[in-house]
């Protein structure tokens, strides 16, 4: 079984991210419900992982030496599903079944139904602990595989995240790289109004993490951050990715209302125009 094709070509990755966004919007419109804003905000990060950084085999999802990706913010399922489909884990037409009865593409990722999903998520705050456990297991097996875990910023209000933050630092899990999709919004409004999470960088540093603070839509910066993370020893790495919710579609950007709703067919049409083509 072949390794997934990956590249450091920034223009190629940008184009991939554009197509990923198109697939996200199309599948959400077809489903009629789902989480638009948070899927779009993390699209560049996830593109960089699946098409540049991670060593994985789409035709052998359980390959022992693969790098792992845990989507702790499980509501961004459409983003994960797009990345898996475009990587070749399954055929693209399956994306149209999102959220439908009998579909392996559950509203939130389910590892029992869809190969490539490492673990079922959806209840916030649990992914980092799982990523820690995987990182520990990989170390026991003396494998060089790495673990990536994507969290939402609102998600860090969950107490378990900080339990896991302590554990990763205590056990010096330097094969773990977490990313916070810091789009500043959560369901009820701005994070700073609902429950302030700042200063994020200081918090994670104080918990013993190596923190890299980047623009989460600058592909060059994202790729560099993942490279830098790999060089860090004895500490887990947190990439704080400053992002815009709904990124890529002007009328979704920074709009809290689009956290948990899908585009209408009309909105999809306008969005596809903005993104420059339907990605076929």
């Amino acid at each position: 079984m072949e390794l997934a094709n990956t590249t450091r070509d920034i223009n190629f990755l940008k184009e991939k991210a554009r197509i990923l966004r198109i697939e996200i919007l199309k599948m959400l419109t077809e489903a009629g419900s789902g989480h638009t804003g948070g899927s779009l905000s993390a699209a560049d990060i996830v593109t960089a992982l699946y098409f540049y950084k991670m060593r994985h085999k789409p035709r052998d999802p359980k390959w022992r030496e693969r790098d792992r990706f845990i989507l702790s913010k499980g509501h961004a399922a459409p983003l994960l599903y797009s990345a898996l489909a475009l990587s070749g884990y399954f055929d693209k037409p399956l994306l149209k079944t999102l959220r439908k009865l009998g579909s392996p593409l559950q509203g939130h990722p389910c590892s029992k139904t869809l190969p490539g999903v490492e673990i079922s998520t959806g209840s916030l705050g649990q992914g980092l602990s799982i990523a820690n456990g995987i990182a520990m297991g990989l170390k026991l097996d003396v494998l060089s595989s790495r673990v990536y875990c994507l969290l939402g910023d609102g998600e860090t209000q969950e107490g378990q995240v900080w339990e896991a933050a302590m554990t990763a630092a205590h056990y010096r899990l330097d094969n773990l790289c977490a990313i916070i999709d810091n789009n500043g919004l959560q369901i009820d409004g701005h994070c700073c109004d609902v429950m302030s999470i700042e200063p994020i960088v200081n918090k994670w540093e104080a918990f013993g993490w190596y923190v890299i603070d980047i623009n989460g839509h600058d592909m060059e910066a994202i790729v560099n951050a993942f490279d830098e993370a790999e060089t860090v020893k004895m500490k887990p790495v947190m990439i704080v990715a400053r992002t815009v919710k709904g990124k890529g579609v002007s009328f979704f950007e920074g709009k809290v209302e689009y956290h948990g709703i899908a585009p209408t067919p009309e909105e999809l049409e306008r969005a596809l125009k903005e993104l420059g083509g339907d990605g076929k």
Partner: protein, 339 residues
């Protein structure tokens, strides 16, 4: 009616204190007393020697849960997560995803209560090979009081799809359970205790998941018990036999999946089924038995356990009396129900 926990005044407990406490359990046939947590500690150590994939996790209670023995022998395969039960379950789940066989232990009230949603969302929903072995279940925790006495844990675990629920009755059975579940793929909850309990299972006993052990089937009543209540049930049956009431005893150590075949056979043979558990009568063994029999073979049932009540502080033997978890109360309940 089952013994009620309500209306017992503090003064009555106090009166009990002045009396010399009677032995907490009937004397074991073989005279040996072992806490199931101690048997777990030993079995875990043996399992660690046999299998390199076994990893153990604890949440700052390794001295009490007895995982400390494994930790000492295999420090590289032991993870102390500190006081963080939710992280404990998540980390164990992650380790299982790399093919390890994790045993996650802490007190039952924290493991099943504090981390219930982690168990639901991650362990059970994804059907992971994670073994949850909790100690300090029930009121025999004693002096620490209700905050540390899990009396709802079986209910909490039983409701979860994919979960197996096992309550061993003595040290021998605990050791067997540990070996059997290590060869079973999927989530398992094992409920252990702090107090020393008598050996009740015969030497040639072989534990199988979902298979109850029948000591005997009675023509008048059959007691379906789990955990420490098995020894109480045996003592009660001896007393009843003396009084001419033929009473059987079944050790239903697997509460889920319930051994419905054995249950049906016992129910058809007698006039009364009694359940006995060191747990709330809501959601535990009594509920499981009632749910099945009410649909398949309605029979007179009485449940012995905590009657919608929390535990409290006190010596275990006094608490058992206070809450009616005694051979005497089993006898009384059966006699009342049969007249």
């Amino acid at each position: 009616m089952t013994h009620s926990n309500k209306g017992k005044s503090y003064s009555k407990t106090k009166k009990n204190v002045s009396n010399p406490p009677s032995p907490p359990f009937s004397k074991g046939e073989k005279g040996s007393f072992v806490a199931t947590r101690d048997a777990y500690g030993e079995a875990l150590l043996e399992l660690g020697k046999k299998r390199a994939d076994v990893v153990v996790l604890d949440a700052d209670l390794s001295g009490s849960t007895k995982t400390g023995k494994f930790a000492k022998a295999f420090p590289e395969r032991f993870y102390n997560l500190g006081v963080s039960e939710q992280d404990l379950i998540g980390t164990a789940s992650g380790l299982s995803l790399t093919g390890k066989l994790p045993f996650a232990s802490t007190f039952a009230v924290f493991e099943t209560g504090r981390a219930w949603e982690q168990i639901r969302q991650t362990v059970c929903y994804s059907n992971l090979n994670v073994k949850l072995v909790a100690t300090h279940s029930g009121i025999t925790v004693g002096e620490d009081g209700a905050s540390h006495q899990a009396t709802e844990d079986v209910a909490l675990m039983r409701v979860l799809p994919n979960m197996i629920v096992i309550v061993p009755s003595d040290g021998n059975e605990t050791k067997q359970v540990l070996n059997v579940i290590s060869d079973y793929k999927g989530p398992v909850y094992v409920r252990l205790g702090r107090a020393k309990v008598p050996a009740v299972m015969p030497d040639d006993y072989e534990f199988k998941i979902g298979k109850a052990y029948v000591f005997n089937i009675g023509r008048d009543a059959n007691i379906v018990a789990m955990g420490i209540m098995v020894s109480m049930a045996l003592e009660a049956a001896r007393v009843l036999k003396h009084d001419g009431i033929d009473t059987g005893v079944i050790n239903m150590s697997t509460v889920k999946p319930l051994d419905t075949k054995t249950l049906l056979k016992a129910s058809k043979a007698c006039k009364l089924i009694i359940t006995a558990e060191e747990h709330s009568i809501i959601g535990g063994l009594g509920s499981a038995v009632s749910e099945f029999l009410s649909e398949k073979f309605p029979v007179k049932i009485r449940r012995i356990g905590l009657v919608d009540a929390f535990g409290c502080s006190g010596p275990p033997e006094e608490l058992l009396k206070f809450y009616g978890l005694t051979p005497g109360n089993i006898v009384k309940t059966i006699k009342e129900a049969l007249t």
